[in-house]
């Protein structure tokens, strides 16, 4: 069993035992559900919007080359540099090179999960560059030296008390239990950082092919500052982020806001089409767009699951997933958690080591229902399981299910097996709940039902004779 799978079991056990944290997360999400539903009901037809969004992403992903080339041509014509990074190392090296060549000393970042994916901060810090996260949630987890807990809400798991203690310790601030005061502490810290930074690193939610623009969605304004004040702007994004037309944003921006945060629109949705142009009063002198593959093309090659590349990273699937809500973001042990993470991580990081994430689901389908672009998430989990078995079946399971299929393939055997089960039930009663109990996983928290003394098949035969 891969280490990642054992880690998952350990971490998830730890988090499910933390009842206060689970309750805290549920409470945090309660407000989101309400606002999300309000905003959904404002749509004339949310399902129609989902259908259109799915179609647009289908078009974009299935003609990826054309749209990427169009995007590159348009944005380079405005003076931006586009770097195609086949993997994480190439992306890191390019960004490091840009920083070194331009005498960069201070780097400020806005929120980008893609930079988490390629472990960018660590690489920059190792080379002596100071990197500060400007998004409040990201700043908080950066100070705690933790990864983000959730795709969209990095510090979702922390109470205001914990954040206050953190600021007291790291910033020497006064204790407070007011979220507003805590936010202002972070704001004050950032003001000088924006002004001092030579390089701003951002992600991008979308890349518009038609007009050669990237689009960044945020609420705080930190991304706008990150991309306006420093003299160099580096935007890092996965190749799958491309959209065909500018007008597509008129659908995606409201949907991202509704599904992701329960808002009509997030506060700032900004389109960047190059570095500062002649005649413009401000803006970065250089703009670099790093297009990252990092095995996304492997997911692209899987036609059955290709729609997962349509993900707009809204986090809606995490917000409705009962597994996520009970095990938290850290249990996944990888950048992308929740249902989307469980679907794509086997493709991005290897099936053998990561298929357990696809197994850790009851397949309830809430994720698929929530996804604004209609990714068939829970069925992809099933497909990953099948693919995992094809690639490397577990000998024990193969034997068990082999036996199962023989038994179920012959109804006589099935009926016989149940008679044996009934015979052994009293023996099981003796060990029920003890360390000898082979069904301990169930019986430690739930009562086991008893086999009926006669099955329905037997009863029917007795009462009715044959088929009728």
């Amino acid at each position: 069993m891969p280490a990642q799978s054992t880690d998952f079991q350990t971490l998830s056990r730890r988090y499910t035992a933390d009842k206060p944290l689970r309750a805290f997360i549920r409470k945090a999400l309660g407000g989101y559900y309400q606002k999300r539903d309000e905003n959904k009901s404002n749509f004339q037809d949310w399902q129609g919007a989902r259908d259109l969004a799915a179609e647009i992403k289908y078009e974009a992903v299935n003609h990826l080359e054309d749209y990427l080339l169009e995007f590159e041509a348009k944005i380079t014509a405005r003076g931006a540099k586009v770097f195609w990074a086949p993997d994480a190392e190439a992306a890191r090296n390019y960004i490091l090179q840009v920083a070194k060549e331009n005498g960069v000393r201070a780097i400020i970042k806005s929120k980008t999960m893609t930079s988490e994916e390629i472990h960018l901060n660590h690489a920059l810090e190792k080379e002596g560059f100071g990197v500060i996260e400007s998004d409040l949630g990201e700043y908080i987890v950066q100070l705690r030296e933790e990864p983000p807990f959730h795709l969209v809400f990095p510090a979702m798991h922390l109470t205001r008390g914990q954040i206050s203690e953190l600021f007291e310790e790291k910033l020497g601030s006064e204790p407070t239990d007011e979220p507003e005061k805590l936010t202002m502490i972070a704001r004050d810290v950032m003001r000088s950082k924006y002004c001092e930074a030579d390089m701003g690193i951002s992600g991008a939610n979308f890349a518009v092919a038609e007009t050669g623009m990237i689009s960044i969605t945020e609420n705080e304004g930190n991304a706008r500052l990150t991309t306006s004040l420093p003299r160099i702007h580096v935007a890092l994004l996965g190749i799958e982020k491309v959209l065909p037309h500018l007008e597509d944003l008129s659908l995606f921006l409201p949907m991202l806001a509704t599904a992701g945060a329960g808002q009509t629109m997030t506060c700032y949705n900004t389109m960047y089409g190059g570095p500062r142009q002649p005649g413009e009063p401000d803006g970065p002198e250089q703009m670099h767009v790093v297009l990252l593959d990092n095995r996304r093309t492997e997911l692209l090659a899987d036609a059955e699951q290709r729609d997962a590349l349509g993900c707009i990273r809204c986090g809606a699937c995490l917000n409705v997933c009962p597994i996520f809500k009970n095990i938290g973001g850290y249990s996944y042990g990888t950048t992308y958690g929740g249902p989307i993470g469980s679907v794509i991580t086997p493709h991005l990081r290897g099936l053998k080591d990561w298929k357990h994430l696809s197994a850790a689901s009851s397949l309830c389908g809430a994720c698929t229902e929530a996804c604004p672009v209609k990714i068939d998430l829970h069925h992809h989990l099933l497909q990953n399981r099948r693919n995992g078995v094809k690639a490397s079946p577990s000998p024990f399971e193969k034997l068990t299910y082999g036996g199962f299929s023989v038994m179920m393939g012959h109804p006589l055997l099935y009926r016989f097996a149940i008679k044996i089960g009934r015979f052994f039930q009293p023996l099981h009663d003796l060990v029920n709940g003890t360390f000898l109990d082979p069904l301990r996983a169930w019986t430690s928290s739930r009562k086991l039902p008893k086999l009926a003394s006669t099955s329905f098949q037997e009863q029917w035969k007795k009462e009715r004779g044959g088929e009728k």
Binding site: T16, A360, V389, S405, G409, P411, S444, A452, F456
Partner: protein
């Protein structure tokens, strides 16, 4: 109508009364119920775990049993989903593909059959008490069953339905998931049971016995007086 009864393996073994309730309701409505011999398991456990070859062996038995059926009805959202939604996938490109599609088309979950095929909402049932309804995930999201059980429960004399907050939240059973990831499954069960207890009802009803097994398992372990009944059992009570 000649209705062929599909009895999932765990109902056969653990909850035969649920199957008898279906028989009583359908025969009470004047239909003929046939119970084809030779049923075993729809094949969901190996299928869910990714062992599709092994799942096919079991599925073939089910397909054979219902080959001559006009219409197939089963009291389980998850097993009916296996047939209706997944058999076509399971047998894609196989010689049995057409037969799988045909079986999928003629198979129905019990509450959906009553409301959408027979057009019935009142089966003449009587059940005193306050109940809440748990929506089994497969039935809800794969088969689109939401209003049908409620339409039926509304007509049950003496019954008061109180919706719980987490009606649509997964109970945590998920087949082998319940054992492979027992702590997560238990945590989900806790959330579900807490939501049930919040309503103050004395009975939780569902159209999926596997969910009921999970929910009852915890309620009984905790010593709760709340009992769990399958929708069919409610509809069969007089």
């Amino acid at each position: 109508m000649r209705i062929s009864l599909f009895v999932p393996c765990f109902i056969d073994q653990l909850y035969p009364n649920v199957a008898w309730s279906v028989v009583r309701v359908l025969e009470g409505l004047g239909h003929e119920v046939i119970f084809p011999q030779g049923q075993s398991c729809c094949g969901q456990p190996p299928f869910n775990s990714g062992y599709w070859d092994e799942a096919r062996s079991a599925a073939l038995v089910t397909m054979r049993a219902f080959r001559d059926a006009e219409v197939v009805v089963g009291p389980s959202g998850s097993c009916v989903t296996m047939i209706k939604v997944f058999y076509p996938d399971l047998f894609k490109g196989q010689p049995e593909e057409l037969e799988a599609r045909e079986l999928a088309a003629k198979t129905h979950e019990f509450s959906s059959f009553l409301v959408n095929v027979l057009g019935i909402s009142d089966v003449g049932a009587k059940f005193e008490g306050k109940v809440t309804f748990h929506d089994g995930c497969h039935g809800l999201r794969e088969l689109g069953i939401k209003k049908e059980p409620r339409v039926l429960l509304e007509k049950v004399k003496g019954l008061e339905l109180i919706e719980m907050n987490e009606a649509e939240t997964c109970c945590g059973f998920g087949g082998t998931f319940a054992v492979k990831f027992a702590t997560i499954s238990t945590a989900m069960d806790e959330v579900k049971c807490a939501s049930i207890l919040e309503t103050g009802v004395n009975t939780v009803v569902s159209n999926d016995s596997s969910c009921l097994m999970q929910i009852r398992g915890m309620l009984e372990k905790e010593g709760s007086k709340v009992r769990g009944l399958h929708l069919a059992e409610i509809l069969a009570s007089r």
